[in-house]
Symmetry: D2
Subunit: 287 residues, 4 copies
């Protein structure tokens, strides 16, 4: 019995698919994303609805869509103060292509930069899901306040910052205030946001520290059902347009390969002058 090439390939296809996905199906002349033909999405869904559909698999309610717009807008830009923006612009100055510079900006998010949103979401989600002690998840408003107190004391004891609170440039950031107001308007202010506000109240009283943009969005995104592992993802979606804009500005306005640092501005604290031959001789005879 002869077995055709096609049969053989079909057999193997079933047994070892290396690539599978539930996001988009591609067939000749047909592209289905999350169940919807893309030509039905184009012109019929807003970009932030598309973001929601991609990340959560469903189109959002109208109010959720509005809320996500606000969250994404709130991450838009912080001028040239963030290291990521500095990196993107320094790279742009070397003549690197647009996508390389955006990639460099995005790579620059580290433990101390842009990581607070995700860490804040994780803390809020864990407390709401598991509670902070053996009593289980908070089930009343006083439980919630108590949880907030335990969290605040835990961090203060360790001398650590609570992710989502305090900002190195702003002590009264106007963005979280507006975000919270918007969340209340669109029915997206839930138990996670309430917990964040409780933490803020304590911190404000004890240390004069307020919620920052990450703390506000951590509460709101958690209340919208976003897994904390998507925190940095959502932030990046909101920030990429500004990176593109900064790179364009650098490339069109500034001189190529300009010096960001002058030789005179560098302080050298190393050795001045050694002799390689004598050092090497001494090293190998001394042994």
């Amino acid at each position: 019995m002869a077995i055709g090439r096609e049969t053989v390939e079909n057999l193997l296809k079933l047994t070892k698919p290396k690539w599978r996905t539930s996001i988009t199906k591609v067939e000749p002349n047909r592209i289905i994303t999350r169940g919807y033909p893309q030509e039905d999405l184009i012109g019929n869904i807003s970009f932030s609805e598309m973001v929601y559909l991609l990340l959560k698999g469903e189109i959002p309610h109208e109010k959720q869509a509005k809320m996500l717009e606000a969250v994404l807008v709130s991450f838009c830009d912080h001028g040239v103060t963030p290291p990521s923006t500095q990196v993107a612009r320094i790279m742009a100055s070397t003549g690197a292509p647009m996508n390389t510079c955006v990639s460099g900006g995005i790579s620059s998010f580290g433990k101390y930069h842009a990581g607070a949103l995700e860490r804040s979401m994780r803390i809020l989600q864990r407390i709401i899901k598991e509670g902070v002690n053996s009593n289980g998840p908070p089930s009343s408003s006083s439980d919630l306040k108590n949880s907030a107190l335990i969290v605040v004391e835990h961090f203060l004891e360790k001398g650590k910052k609570i992710p989502g609170f305090g900002h190195r440039f702003h002590d009264e950031d106007p963005r979280p205030v507006k975000l919270i107001k918007t969340a209340k308007k669109y029915g997206c202010f839930g138990i996670h946001s309430e917990l964040a506000v409780s933490i803020e109240n304590l911190l404000l009283e004890m240390k004069g520290i307020r919620m920052n943009i990450d703390g506000a969005n951590a509460g709101i995104l958690s209340d919208m059902g976003f897994d904390w592992e998507l925190g940095t993802g959502v932030f990046m979606i909101g920030r990429v347009p500004a990176l593109v804009s900064h790179i364009k500005e650098e490339k069109s306005v500034e001189n190529s390969f300009r010096k960001f640092v002058e030789v005179e501005d560098i302080y050298y604290n190393g050795l001045e002058c050694r002799n390689i031959d004598s050092d090497r001789n001494e090293l190998n005879t001394s042994k």
Copy 2:
């Protein structure tokens, strides 16, 4: 006369600012983007209006906003067929953080991948601005058709693909059709799009090749006044959400550090077995 530290710093600030920007001003508790306080933008502007504001400095008309939504949605995803998505997922499988994987995906756009939009925009914008020959910019419908013919012949002669036309997976891509329709609805179908359609008509007749998503968006974005240097930028803004979604899927569904390639699937076409000592001896004595 004593000069205070502040005076000195102010003096220098004026003479050598290394960093300047017209995008966002950051002051304590005050963040102004393109002239608008960010708290006025949050909850008051859609995400694609924000994109427009960042890239072009102004908020768009309602119809332009709708059009940009459609353009961004159209770039959403193409499953796991694009190299960039494969790269993002392979990186995700190694346990690399979300932002690193997105960055890897974005770095993967090269000459042959995702570059067509920008090249297509450049061609359309140059022809509309300068014309294809000494007659200057096209000033009539027949001029436009003539320009299209010259472009098509130029590329066919060289045996090259025209950026924005033809697709390796689709011969009748449903997305450009919907985009063109949407552009007409929102008054964003102008002379650049017309030129793109003229090129498509010729290519379809001569070679059976249709416009692809990059060709359609190249015309539309050009008609909306986007500089071609922003092409890849706009594409990336539209594609990042899918990268985030694929990375999340890889991390949550697949095994860590899975083998994308089995040893048995690799064909080795190099040398089998040599002896380093004898090779080295022969090499150094032969000389």
Copy 3:
């Protein structure tokens, strides 16, 4: 009293240097690295001596230099099986430039890929420095064996792999054997390597698992005095040449933009066909 611009700049230079380094001093026509004029290093020092000088601030003894050569050579290449190499080649296929592809390969090192060296070094260094329990650092051969036992039991209990032991492709990797032999020859086999060997002996007896290349190099580099935080750095220095070689091969031998994955090889496990309008209506009325 007039203060000149130069005075002012000098004043500020002393008070706020943003950039300082002890590695290299740059002056017009003079470049001093780790105390040596670069023209004295060129032609007078091997590349691995240079690596040592950069990372540790001193030129190495002859035997240390030989050992570092062996370590760097041992990291050279593992064909196209590592995700990092796959990423570099997929990126190369898109026409991305050489440096972008190397960068992509390097970004691909995550928790599960190329992280074992650093984690293994950290474990060995911590045990040798602090011991595994209240008895303090191991001070005899039997202490060392006892420490090894505690480590092995700790990991086995948790069902976790010990970094530096076991390999997904090799159960008897020929590289660590040769590295250990070389370390003994060059006097670089010390207490950290001994600990690694003790762990291997136990693991081999209990689970049939051997030391891998990371375990061997973790012991050796630690015995040479390299801080564990430099582990991935040393690995990358050794691996970059192969990345360059693979990217060159991909670019010169394979077709541009070739399909690494065929549409037929992708398994789609998402939704098939939904209607956006009816879904949206249902969604917003149901709420």
Copy 4:
């Protein structure tokens, strides 16, 4: 007739191998690179010989090995003046992992930064292979000088810099001088280097401009038979150790998330204060 799974897989393996390479063969417990078992290379070959073997497929003569050492050493470091090093350190300050920071540094090589070596090699190789005009490749010393003159005049006429000549920090860089001397010592000073020197002689006389490190290495690497497409690759191999060293320094010496730019140092040249609602109204009614 039954066909076993193995037969089927073998059949397909032969017909569609997606991955092939001539660099390294990986089998269980056996790793062959360029024909040599890796355990034969470890401890038996220097790191720069390994680099040569990976890039060119053969082990080098002793003198070539020495020359490549010198070339790689010459690329070692340029303090914190290069954008790539600034990027790597800014990224390190955010807490990004070592490999991410190295990757960022490497991504930063653009048209104006680190591209000169490759461009210089391409120019030299093209002239030696094809000549500069219809007379064909230069076949005498006076041909060579004539070619040099044509190149110099071509660039000067266009007002462009010749890649490999001139340096923004050094007018008499000590490195190329030492490299040329070393090349002569090791028999690696050939026709490409001679051409580079001829260009330098002309430029020095006409404009007071000398060869830089890229020009010297372009000649030498070309005389050693390295394809110009490997230029940036060789440079990166030489520079990665310094990036690792700078990142380690930043992480251990400086404060995390320090401000590289103070708000007071940023000059904002954008709009000050607009009203979103009135702007939007005006915009949509005016249309």
